[in-house]
């Protein structure tokens, strides 16, 4: 059995190729230093078009379980087409975050769907900053906007973003501390947690 498994094997709603995505994942796993002995599953929900993005990166039964909305890999200019540079970034972020979870520093981190939006976006900033240093395509300002939306449009949040983007080593407790610092300076009332978009989570929530 291959180390990387992509679901579905055949896409019917979008012009994506599971073999090509598996190949990209293998390549990026090597580039990001993902452990050789850990299996990786990549599940893509092809029913979700842009702008309905979403992704999770967890470790389940010792393997990296990456879930992506199809929108995360979609070319915004050509409906249903695969955007390789964007897909590379998304896969690399997922792999780095799953690798973080394999280490002791993130042992206490909740699974992705239970993370607060602030924590989730802070962690993704750190991951995308590392992807940038690997020489991959990244979207720094977009990431800053996402971060500000859930950690505040404040100078404190902007300074936190810079620290996260350029950090080499962090632990879950560091992410928590940075988000607490942002929250303390955020004048907004507490935001409601972002709702789920994944089919299985919605089904579970509806009972």
């Amino acid at each position: 059995m291959a180390r990387v498994q992509v679901t579905p094997e055949t896409f019917t709603l979008v012009d994506y190729d599971a073999g090509a995505i598996a190949g990209l994942t293998e390549e990026l796993a090597a580039k990001t230093g993902f452990p050789d002995d850990v299996d990786i599953t990549v599940e893509i929900d092809e029913e979700l078009p842009l702008p309905l993005t979403g992704a999770t990166a967890d470790v389940v039964d010792g393997r990296a379980a990456l879930w992506f909305s199809g929108a995360n890999f979609e070319d915004g200019r050509y409906r249903t087409h695969f955007d390789e540079p964007v897909a590379r970034t998304e896969l690399a972020i997922g792999l780095l975050r799953a690798a973080d979870r394999l280490g002791p520093g993130f042992a206490d981190a909740p699974v992705d769907e239970q993370l607060s939006d602030a924590h989730r976006h802070a962690w993704e900033v750190w991951a995308e900053g590392r992807v940038a240093r690997l020489g991959e395509h990244t979207r720094r300002v977009r990431r800053l906007y996402h971060f500000r939306l859930y950690n505040g449009f404040t100078d404190v949040a902007d300074a936190a973003f810079e620290r996260l983007w350029s950090a080499d080593a962090l632990a879950w407790s560091d992410i928590e501390a940075i988000c607490a610092e942002c929250a303390a300076s955020d004048p907004r009332p507490a935001l409601k947690k972002k709702g789920p978009i994944r089919r299985e989570t919605l089904k579970a929530a509806s009972g």
């Binding site: 709603l13 979008v14 092809e46 029913e47 979700l48 078009p49 842009l50 702008p51 309905l52 993005t53 979403g54 909305s69 199809g70 929108a71 915004g76 200019r77 050509y78 409906r79 249903t80 939006d117 979207r139 720094r140 300002v141 977009r142 990431r143 800053l144 906007y145 996402h146 500000r148 939306l149 859930y150 505040g152 449009f153 955020d186 004048p187 907004r188 935001l191 409601k192 947690k193 972002k194 709702g195 789920p196 978009i197 089919r199 919605l202 509806s206």
Partner: protein, 275 residues
């Protein structure tokens, strides 16, 4: 210079990719998404994918501003002085200045949100629906329907800026909203003046507006319930010269558009699944 410029001849550089509205409607993923109950469709940070939804909407506003500029600009040129009063052309010229400023603001807001020009497609139905060859229909299409939609969209984005604590977005949208109210008010005033002694012509223009407004409701994109991402901005429409009855009528048109889109999607989904 050519009069009544067809949509195919609008000038765009290579960054812009056009999308047909039919492609979005016939995309089988739309029916799949509508089966998922992800809660209120209102644009707020707690909505799934809120940031990317807002970025895409902002890009849509940007290309809409280009088309509004083109619509108002064409009106200053497409009609001779015996067809429309010169003062109306001056109003349209002033509107062009506003729209070009809105284009620049929208580009900067898109950059603020991390988007690039051309990151998303451009649908040109605004220009197509608004640029009627009849001057009065043009006025209702551009200044009442298109600019009216702009009021609703800007108010929605301003509220998103307020609730997300984004001072840049909230302030810019508020400024542009003020301009749009003026543009719609100009349309409302000119419609009344040009049809003062011709109630039948006014009725035809309003019927045309009703048709365009249904199109611009985009199958439930705009309305007054939690299912509609863009909310009808009643207060600002009243300031722009819409009567309560006209806004109620628009609300009904939006509901009809939503029901028709739902029926079409069900039919399409039924065909696709072999039911």
């Amino acid at each position: 210079m050519k009069k009544i410029l067809p949509v195919e001849e609008l000038a765009r550089d290579s960054r812009f990719v056009r999308a047909r509205i039919e492609d979005a409607i016939s995309d089988p993923r739309q029916a799949k998404v509508s089966e998922r109950n992800t809660g209120s469709a209102r644009l707020e940070p707690a909505r799934p994918a809120a940031a990317d939804r807002a970025r895409q909407l902002m890009h849509g506003i940007f290309v809409g501003e280009i088309q509004a500029l083109e619509g108002a600009g064409r009106t200053t040129f497409d009609f001779d002085d015996d067809e429309i009063p010169f003062q109306l052309k001056l109003d349209m010229a002033r509107q062009c200045w506003d729209e070009s400023r809105h284009c620049e603001i929208s580009v900067k807001l898109s950059e603020h949100m991390g988007s690039e020009i051309g990151e998303f497609t451009e649908a040109t139905f605004l220009y197509e629906a608004a640029c009627a060859p009849d001057a009065l229909l043009r006025l209702t299409g551009v200044n009442r329907a298109l600019e009216g939609l702009a009021i609703d969209v800007f108010n929605t984005m301003k509220e998103f800026g307020d609730v997300s604590g984004d001072p840049v977005l909230a302030a810019c949208e508020d400024w542009m909203l003020a301009d749009e109210v003026t543009h719609v008010k100009m349309g409302s005033d000119w419609l009344r003046r040009l049809t003062e002694n011709d109630p039948e012509r006014r009725e035809r223009a309003l019927e045309f507006q009703r048709t365009v407004d249904k199109l611009f409701s985009l199958g439930g994109f705009r309305g007054e319930t939690d299912e509609n991402p863009i909310q009808l901005a009643r207060k600002f429409r009243e300031m722009a010269g819409f009567s309560t009855e006209e806004i109620d009528d628009l609300s009904e048109v939006a509901t009809e558009a939503q029901e028709e889109a739902r029926a079409a999607a069900d039919a399409l989904h039924g065909v696709a699944s072999g039911d």
